[in-house]
Amino acid sequence: MKERIETKEYNIVLAGVGGQGTLLAAEILGTAAMKEGLNVRVSEIHGMAQRGGAVVSDVRIGKDVLAPTVLDGQADVLLGFEPLETLRNLRFASEKTLVIMSDDKVPPTELAAKNKKYPKIEEIIEKIHRFTDKVVVVETRKLAKEAGSILAQNSVLVGALAASGEMPLKVESITEALQELVPAKYVEVNLKAFNLGLERAKRQT
């Protein structure tokens, strides 16, 4: 029995912490899919779960997609907005999954309270390797700062995702969706962040 089956779907799992812009990134991808006339489902978590807690959003693209959530082992991409949250969602990854992960740590308060250390990025990558060899680590904070705001880290990651060759969405559809969904005065910064992410991932993949 396999961990991964062949389908005509494209599944993206976005994992982060409430407040990181995970939901907006997912909506940008969903809107881009609509622009290309594709069937899509985007799952979101709102309300109490959001307050600084772990947030997961799934984007599923494909003709026969009905359910909003990705099955274990079946993610094409795991887009990690935070290293520990990337680990928390590894059950959706298997050998064909591309993991694109931000290296920007948001330490859970439990660590400080229990006097524990945040694991090293190398340890985290080692754990991801137990599921897949395809890992791209992106310096989202650095690139977002370069673009003009550390709040644009989500756009850096979406850019890095757009660089992936197997993505069924065109770069133009994603940037178009981004321009529609990001508030006008932040569009420029986010486009710049997107492009920096795109260039960064192209270099590695």
Binding site: M1, K2, E3, R4, I5, V17, G18, L24, A26, E27, T31, A33, M34, V40, R41, V42, S43, E44, I45, H46, G47, M48, A49, Q50, R51, G52, G53, D64, L66, A67, P68, T69, L71, D72, G73, Q74, L84, E85, L87, R88, L90, R91, S94, P107, P108, T109, E110, L111, A112, A113, K114, N115, K116, Y118, R130, F131, I150, E180, L181, P183
Partner: protein
Amino acid sequence: MKLFYNRENKVLPDSRVLLKDKPEERVLLLGNEAIARGILEAGIAIVTTYPGTPASEIGDSISEIAKEAGLYMEYSTNEMVATEVAGGAANCGIRALTAMKHVGLNVAADMVMTLAYAGVRGGYVIVTADDPECYSSQNEQDNRFYALLSNLPCLEPSSSQEAKDMTVSAIEISEKLDIPVLLRTTTRVSHTRGPVEYGKLTKPRLKGEFIRDVKRLVMVPAYSRPKHPVLLKKAEMAKEISETSPYNKVVHEGKSSELSMISSSAACNYMQEAANLLGIDADILKLGMTHPLPEKKIGQFLKKHKKIVVVEELEPYLEMQVKAIAKDYAPNVEVYGKMNVQYFPREGELSTRTVAAGLAKITGKKLPIDFEGIDEKFSEIAKELPARPPILCAGCPHRASFYLMRKAYGEKALYPTDIGCYALGIASPLNIGDIMICMGASLGMAQGINRATDRDTIAIVGDSTFFHAAIPGLVNAVYNNSKIIVAVLDNLTTAMTGHQPHPGTGTTGMQVPSERILVEKVAEGCGIKYVRVVDPFKTKETEAVLREASQQSGPSVIVFRSPCTLIALREKRRKGVELVACRITEKCTDCMACIKMLGCPAIVVEEGKARIDEALCGGCGLCVAVCPYKAIECVKLK
């Protein structure tokens, strides 16, 4: 005091996409936004709601576009009032809708049960958004049973498209039968984005006429008694509608005649994908109108098959009825679900995996994915992962209030709490919150606990929850002279559900100014003798008030007033006000008092040293006040 409420700066996209008068245009919408679009297509003139996840975005979307769409919307004080306002308007012949989360229907139930007898003249839809898995709720009750209990028709969408279409259909059914219609979603329908093809917009008719008809509308025993058989007759007519409803149909005709499947709502999505996964090619009867069920249609379907699998989330609502129908139509058919043998879980939400596992057990087929292998591999990762539960934001005024309560009363007092962000106070190190059941219950429970224990009892309740359901409890405390302290955590918004206005904010759902109702005035009006308003970030004053309150011989009310930090920061950014953040200086002795006392997410420990992440810090200065070595300062951010 300046109010910080402002919806214009919302980060999420513009709801005006819902106003597009372009039939056949395809738009990506959240299930809740699709219902909002359905409201515009159905020509609904009055929308009432009390915010609650997973229903909130229905009211919020409408609030943003109500003026342009030419309809009236309000955030009512609670779901009961929301239903009353809409029920009154619908009895003047205009179309109405009320949206609420599942537990909101418990609050509204008194009105709904008898409005079913009286009926409505304009179409009236009650949306109940259920929350399997308790993502943002205190229970996961299955509100389809309210349809059975009230005899009202119930529609259940499985996608954004159906959510929109069924809103329109629900109005039509309501007007055909002159009774309210329930539209039941779940979290995965309300909070999933999917494509929606637009239909035509209908201009709402805002004004109607009230026709006096006491036999129809005044439910005294003599008039309500004959209305019961009238309601039952309408339920029979609803069953005829259900028999021919396009929402109750065979969505897939399979090659195998042996086995077939029945499902509804989000469960049907998982079921169809799970069947594909296992290579099960069976007939699928999808039910979208789930009360009353189409008895004949289901009966005929049962007759054609030997084995029926019923897949549904939460309670065996369909299964029970399918079995009852089978008794009359196909007594030998085998029904598989969750009643006798649990092939599918009765608690939590379903997934393609759980449904596939159940189907595999029933059919003897093998799962094509090695889920157990994945579980095993993942458990190695999971066991070392620190938890990341939702927590109070950095800069949240509730943290200051809770810290001071603990400082003043410690373990001495008991803290019944309520529904809202402040329920997150239960986490360490604040540990405030000893019992929480439902909206407004903290006040009443505090009185019972105080009578039974004679301990200091502090009822914690938020501002929106105060107006929603706490006032009768407050009156009871005065009337029956209960010595409790009521701590109203007033952050000037309904924070948890997305910052909706409430009676204490001075703004309405139509986004116009209104009379601002102050908690302290209400408390005084109810006869509370000791009422104080404090700013929890003024720690010394607040602490003094907390101690004074315990000396009172009767109930007391302390209003902890400070705006939600998310709103305050957003407003400061908008106005270009200089932001501040806290910083730990070289005076720090690594005593970790800030960590141990506050649990603020902005204070992190690196290499044994506390550090403040200025990107997260709200600059509230609470850590400055608690640091025993004066080693934290507030600095301006560039």
